[in-house]
């Protein structure tokens, strides 16, 4: 449910590092709380986002939530599949349902995030 190789924020986003590129999505807990995801609104590639700042919105049939970036930096890629077929966020939140990739500005920001073992108890 909460892979060990990811880092987690208290707003229920996850980060996967590949070199200095941070891949970002929402956790199983987030997608289950939302229910069927019907729309994601993501920023333009090339824009900057600050750590813990809002970068988009995610909608289910009857709820809308802000998306907050667990790390700051320049957005280098957004997931077109999640925009075209938002159900992938429900189906594979850690895989094809990722949302944005950010070029990490400051690696020390990762220290502000939780590992799986720390994140899971916060869900109870």
């Amino acid at each position: 449910m909460y892979p060990d190789d990811l880092k987690y924020s208290k707003e229920h986003e996850w980060v996967r590092m590949n070199g200095n590129i941070a891949e970002i999505g929402v956790t199983v807990f987030a997608q289950e709380s939302l229910g069927d995801v019907v729309f994601v609104d993501l920023p333009d590639v090339g824009t900057d986002v600050a750590q813990f700042a809002k970068f988009g919105e995610i909608e289910s049939v009857k709820a809308v939530s802000d998306l907050f970036s667990p790390v700051g930096g320049k957005i280098v890629e957004v997931n077109a599949a999640a925009i075209d077929s938002p159900e992938v966020v429900n189906e594979e939140p850690y895989g094809t349902g990722w949302l944005i990739k950010v070029e990490l500005a400051d690696a020390s920001q990762l220290d502000d995030l939780m590992d799986s073992a720390t994140y899971q108890p916060t869900l109870e």
Binding site: F39, D41, E59, V61, K62, V64
Partner: protein
């Protein structure tokens, strides 16, 4: 004043009897109604009210009959040439008949789609018809009225372009920018007037708001103005008369971004100004910024087609202070009237209707233009008008209209605030040639004695 359950009167609208009330109060565990009102400050409970005693249904009919009789209308032998946003059209019997269906009239907003498929399918038909009429990709299920639809369209353009300056064409009905002003006053929006022959516009406009036919009845050059808007990164918002769309090119043919209209001409009584319905259509790309209710098609658990309210996260009940609008109605019942009306007229009828209005209005204009002292003016982009036109009169319109009223004629609208001695005349299919000739002859007599 004493009050308890036993003071309740028995009324046809209230079924509970004294003994039933007593029985219910006993179950609740209080002696009287006042036992349930403990939270209301006692000094303010049961205030004195100056309201008349109730009337029987028969008495009501008499009272309202006499109120109605105090008003001048076609039913009391008057003929009228008023338009300017509310139009006299014949309403087919099918519209009145379907309007008798309590299942439509007394239903609530379709929040439980399984129990509201009738309302929802009608709404889907309505959205389809508005798209077919305007040539646009998507439409919502209805707004309050034409001017509020226009105001919301301009605010939507501001959201889409992330700009705050809104241009409105100088030939638009002032009710459009006036309503926009009331809607946008505290949202940091600036409204500027754009001349109908403008070749340049500010480069920070969110949109150009164009009314066509404009307030003076004339067709605007939607194509040129839309291109001008797009060249400057602005949207084009076009406010149409839906009857004219039976004849004139649809705004969708000109790459317009948002189309609004007053739906009243499509089968809705003039009723002293309301309720009407605002029509609202746009390009599919902008749908998430669209205000109002939207109905979509889907399937049930058995795979059967059905309809639901959709894209609801735009709306106030979910997004609250960040909603696209505070509107929480689609003026559904008036949308039903529009839907039945257009279905009844059909492909041929809408064309015949537009043609009839055009023919009669142009006949009236040519007759009036031939009168000494009267002349038909062109104030718009080319002088091609649909069923309304402007006449300058040999004396003040108020005097002329007073004289016309003596002959049971309600003259055109006095627009002397926009043009000296200007009268805006509207002629639809409900005016016979005899009515028009009577009007022309009366103008001739009044003009001669001026």
């Amino acid at each position: 004043m004493a009050s308890s359950a036993n003071t309740s009167v028995n009324h046809p609208y209230i079924p509970s009897t004294d003994s039933e009330r007593a029985e219910m109060l006993e179950v609740i565990g209080v002696d009287s109604l006042d036992g349930l009102l403990g939270d209301i400050p006692i000094e303010h409970r049961h205030p004195k009210l100056d309201i008349d005693a109730g009337l029987s249904e028969q008495e009501l009919s008499t009272v309202f009959g006499s109120i109605a009789a105090e008003n001048a209308s076609s039913s009391s032998g008057y003929i009228s040439f008023l338009g300017a946003g509310s139009y006299s059209h014949y309403i087919p019997s099918t519209v009145r008949s379907i309007l008798q269906r309590g299942e439509f009239v007394t239903a609530y907003t379709p929040y439980q789609p399984e129990a509201a498929q009738g309302t929802l399918q009608v709404g889907f038909e309505f959205q389809t018809i508005i798209c077919q009429l305007t040539g646009m990709e998507v439409a919502n299920a209805g707004m309050y009225d034409g001017p509020t639809a226009f105001a919301e369209a301009c605010l939507m353009a501001a959201r889409v372009t992330k700009r705050t300056k809104i241009g409105v064409l100088s030939t638009a009905d002032r009710r459009l920018p006036d309503t926009l002003l009331a809607y946008s006053k505290y949202q940091g929006i600036e409204i500027v007037e754009i001349s109908t022959d403008a070749t340049e516009i500010p480069d920070d406009l969110a949109c150009i708001g164009i009314q066509s036919p404009n307030f003076f009845g004339e067709i605007e050059d939607i194509e040129r103005l839309t291109n001008l808007a797009h060249e400057n990164g602005a949207l084009s918002v076009v406010h149409v008369n839906p009857t004219a769309l039976g004849m004139f090119k649809a705004p969708g043919e000109f790459d317009v971004d948002i189309v609004t209209a007053e739906g009243q001409p499509l089968g809705v009584p003039m009723a002293f100004g309301g309720p009407y319905v605002g029509l609202f259509a746009c390009k599919k790309a902008h749908i998430r910024q669209m205000p109002g209710r939207i109905i979509g098609r889907t399937t049930d658990t058995k795979g059967r087609a059905g309809y639901v309210l959709t894209l609801q996260t735009r709306e106030q009940h979910i997004r609250r202070e960040r909603a696209t609008s505070n509107i929480c109605t689609s003026t559904q019942l008036i949308g039903l009237m529009v839907t039945v009306y257009t279905a009844t007229l059909g492909k041929q009828g809408i064309k015949d209707l537009a043609s009839l209005c055009y023919q009669k209005a142009h006949y009236a204009a040519s007759e009036i233009n031939g009168l000494a002292g009267f002349s038909v003016e062109s104030l718009g982009s080319g002088g091609t008008f649909f069923h309304e036109f402007v006449v300058t009169c040999p004396e003040s319109v108020s005097k002329i209209n007073a004289a016309l009223l003596d002959k049971k004629i309600i003259g055109g609208l006095d627009i002397s605030d926009r043009l000296d001695n200007g009268m805006l005349v509207c002629v639809t299919e409900t005016s016979s040639k005899a009515d028009i000739d009577k009007f022309v002859q009366a103008l001739s007599q009044i003009g001669a004695s001026a």
